[in-house]
């Protein structure tokens, strides 16, 4: 016998431990890469947020200069929206769509990999902006011209150009994955899975993909015109040469408002998966929840100018956009009431995913209600561009989207990696984040009503301004600790391998992804049971229980 055994066949470099991830076209690995990369950006964007909160802790701070403050606020917003929330949801979509609909992969696996790598490239290009001459982009995440134009007193240098190019890359990435999601969901559902038997997360991510297709071209066009202005001397947005600044606002928000729902609809879907499982009940009003998703998506295309009430559009347009914005509160309310009814007479199990789902309902309700003030345009004239708005959209995007995706992480973690995240640390994470979040953002409503404009690097009022700002900064510290607890949890579970191994279905869930092993094999399923309801796994458990032993 030879002392050294040669492999029976040549092992390709592609099967290496790292290389196999770099060249993967497996939707599960791509999903995990998306989520991991987004979480990394979440930490980066979070550091920027803590920098801003530290700067604003007391009046007249000097931690950040006024120049760098504008860069930090621009990069924080852009990072959190384009590099965290949208891609982490794409990550969940990638991981879950084939598993939930009983398919072996996405329709276009290579396109899927391309989407991921374009996202990586877009993120790198955006953050290269820091190194460019003239500093990072500093015109806010809206980048309204003329402040974003290439004038020496506006946005000279290449920071803004990096911002534009990165948005192009990220848009392309999102468009490709949206096409992939739609084609997959249309064509690759398991036998028996009609539209009315699809998991609600699939409804939500399908709508997310549709909205991306409809909304992204508008911002691509807007920033292309801006790039032409900046580099080749056109004047689309230079009023002294006949350009029109209100046009940019329309194009930006035609994308920008659907974007809000792009960032929250898939999270609605996650909540609609988590709540029934931990209430031991079916979702209350499946059809109402599914169709309200479509309703929200439809109306989200008709509300963009409520971001422009202070532009001076005239009573006609203002009224239209107020009414359409109020209409969108109705399907949103339907969802909240159906979620509440789902917990009614349940056997509520407060594992960490459930805590995040309940926290989501509590906080998102708050964000929705403050939105009604902003939809009423005369009231918006008072509240727009103040810290009230900052509080409002953080209740929607952090209290909503981030609480939701953390709940989703705790829920699907065992399916992704085969180990349970630690429950004790998970509960610490939730409670610290819940308390820290409210400490940070509740006082910002008051600051806005007191007259504090957003995007100011400092202020010179003592009294309540200082009190509320200080509370808000303390809250951001508590949130930081909660994220550290989460990272420790991930470390202990995965890297120190202390996480308890989960079986196929640790939560006794309802949907097909729990039918296969945790983590699933490369082909996902050897066979898929015929789907006869929206809860195929519960059906299976009941059939097994009825069978004589």
């Amino acid at each position: 016998m030879a002392a050294r055994s040669e492999p029976a066949y040549p092992v390709s470099w592609k099967s290496g431990r790292v290389a196999s991830w770099l060249v993967t076209v497996d939707h599960k690995r791509i999903g995990i890469l998306y989520i991991g990369t987004s979480l990394m950006w979440f930490v980066a964007g979070g550091i920027l947020a803590v920098l801003m909160r530290s700067q604003l802790a007391t009046p007249g701070e000097h931690l950040l200069t006024k120049t760098s403050y504008n860069e930090v606020l621009t990069m924080h917003g852009t990072t959190m929206i384009f590099l965290v929330v949208v891609p982490i949801l794409a990550g969940f979509g990638n991981f879950l769509i084939p598993l939930m609909i009983g398919a072996r992969d996405m329709a276009f696996p290579r396109l899927n990999a391309l989407s991921y790598w374009l996202f990586v490239l877009g993120g790198i290009v955006l953050w290269l902006s820091w190194l460019s001459k003239g500093g990072a982009a500093h015109a806010g995440w809206w980048s309204y011209p003329t402040l974003s134009e290439n004038f020496p007193w506006a946005s000279p240098g290449h920071g803004q150009d990096y911002w534009i190019v990165s948005l192009h890359l990220l848009s392309l990435s999102s468009l490709l994955s949206a096409i992939n999601f739609i084609v997959t969901i249309h064509n690759m559902r398991a036998p028996g899975m009609s539209w009315m038997r699809m998991p609600l997360f699939i409804w939500a991510i399908y709508t997310y993909a549709l909205l991306l297709l409809l909304a992204l071209p508008a911002i691509s066009a807007a920033v292309t015109l801006l790039l032409l202005d900046r580099t080749v001397g056109t004047h689309f947005f230079i009023p002294s040469q006949g350009g029109n600044l209100v046009l940019y606002q329309h194009m930006f928000w035609f994308f920008g408002h659907p974007e809000v729902y792009i960032m929250v609809l898939p999270v609605f879907g996650m909540i609609s998966e988590i709540l029934p499982v931990f209430s031991r009940k079916p979702i209350f009003g499946y059809k109402a929840v599914a169709f309200s998703t479509i309703g929200i998506a439809f109306f989200s295309m008709l509300v963009w100018a409520h971001h422009m009430f202070t532009t001076g559009l005239g009573t006609g347009l203002d009224s239209f956009f107020m009414i359409s914005s109020m209409i969108i509160a109705v399907p949103t309310g339907i969802k909240i009431f159906n979620w509440l009814a789902t917990t009614w007479r349940g056997n509520l199990i407060f594992d960490t995913p459930m805590l995040f789902a309940i926290g989501f309902i509590a906080l998102f309700t708050m964000g929705g209600l403050s939105g009604i003030f902003l939809a009423a345009f005369p009231v918006d004239w008072q509240l727009a561009d103040s810290y009230y708005v900052v509080a409002h959209f953080h209740y929607v995007l952090f209290g909503g989207s981030a609480f939701g995706f953390f709940g989703g992480l705790y829920y699907w973690w065992p399916k992704m990696f085969g180990r349970m995240l630690d429950e004790r640390l998970g509960k610490w994470h939730f409670w610290l984040m819940f308390v820290g979040f409210n400490l940070t953002f509740l006082p910002q409503h008051m600051l806005g009503l007191l007259g504090m404009a957003r995007r100011v690097y400092t202020y010179h009022h003592g009294g309540l301004w200082e009190v509320y700002n200080l509370i808000s900064t303390i809250g951001s510290g508590v949130m930081t600790i909660s994220i550290l607890v989460f990272l420790v949890n991930v470390w202990q579970t995965q890297i120190a391998r202390k996480g308890v191994r989960s079986g196929n279905d640790p939560w006794l869930a309802d949907t097909l992804e729990w039918y296969t092993t945790s983590p699933p094999p490369p082909q996902n399923f050897d066979s898929v049971p015929y789907v006869t309801s929206a809860r195929p796994l519960r059906d299976l458990r009941r059939r097994l229980a009825e069978q004589p032993q």
């Binding site: 079916p282 008072q382 600051l447 100011v456 202020y459």
Partner: protein, 332 residues
Amino acid sequence: MPCGLRRKLPSVVLAVLVALATAGVAAASNGGFTPVEPASPGASHTLTAYYVILAFTSVIFVIVEGLLVVFVIKYRRRGRAREVEGAQVHGHTRLELIWTVIPVLILAVIGVTVFLELPDIRSAPAAANPIRITIVGHQYYWQFNYPNGARSIGTLHAPVDRVVDLKVLSPDVIHSWWIPALGGKIQAIPGRSNHIWFEATKEGSFEGQCAQLCGVFHASMLATVVAQSDAAYQHFVNVTTRATLGQQEWSGVCATCHGNLGQGGYGPAIANNSLLTQPSALEGIVRNGFTGTQGAMPPVGKWWTQAQMAALATYVKRHIYKPAPVGGTSGG
């Protein structure tokens, strides 16, 4: 007796706490629970609309969060096995209709309220004989052009109980005019003319700031409206502005970057730059801006009148310019 008292005690304590909290909120009514105390009819009507929305949203908030808490407590696991299922209720059409229709009705009431308040918020009383003042938002100051040609920087003077019609312009980037006590915001957009109005109902000075990110000194772009008697207003626009225009321009425009004494700050030190003594060269740089190796100066006085230029030239020559010491090597 003590038994009855003890039974009542919690409710008494609760009542006292509620009363204290209410008093606290009332005392802090300018403390961030409602918009600041209005000093103009438009702002008062906005506050009315705010209260109506607050009433409805508070009720919805209490119902939703209350139900959530009640359900969480009432239907908690209590040690039951995970396998134990809750009631397998799939939905209820009548309930769905109820929680669709009631929000529609509430929103309709809110919408109607807004439209009822709107005319008094959007436009000044028709019979008013308004003073027409033009506001020009610049990087990084507000300039006010009065009907008699007078100019002021940073502080707008207006008579009380008189409608002031504001035309809002900008020559450079988008700014947003906002004095919370006097009403809402309106953007100052290059290439566009916007309107807003107020009628100060009491004397006093009302502070605000630019609400639209407009560049490095966005946070310094403060504004004050001084509402005063008609006589004081007339004195201001006819006498005071004329005498202090150069000083206002220096401290409201130049000093933001170059320091109060021209000693430098964000921009270079200019106190001993001989350019300050050459009116035409000074006008060129103020009107057109300047791009140097260290950075750029915006065209802060793009739309200034000759009188404004002259006032600045006179002021800086007399009060700011300090010739460099003989033999000195720095400055210039």
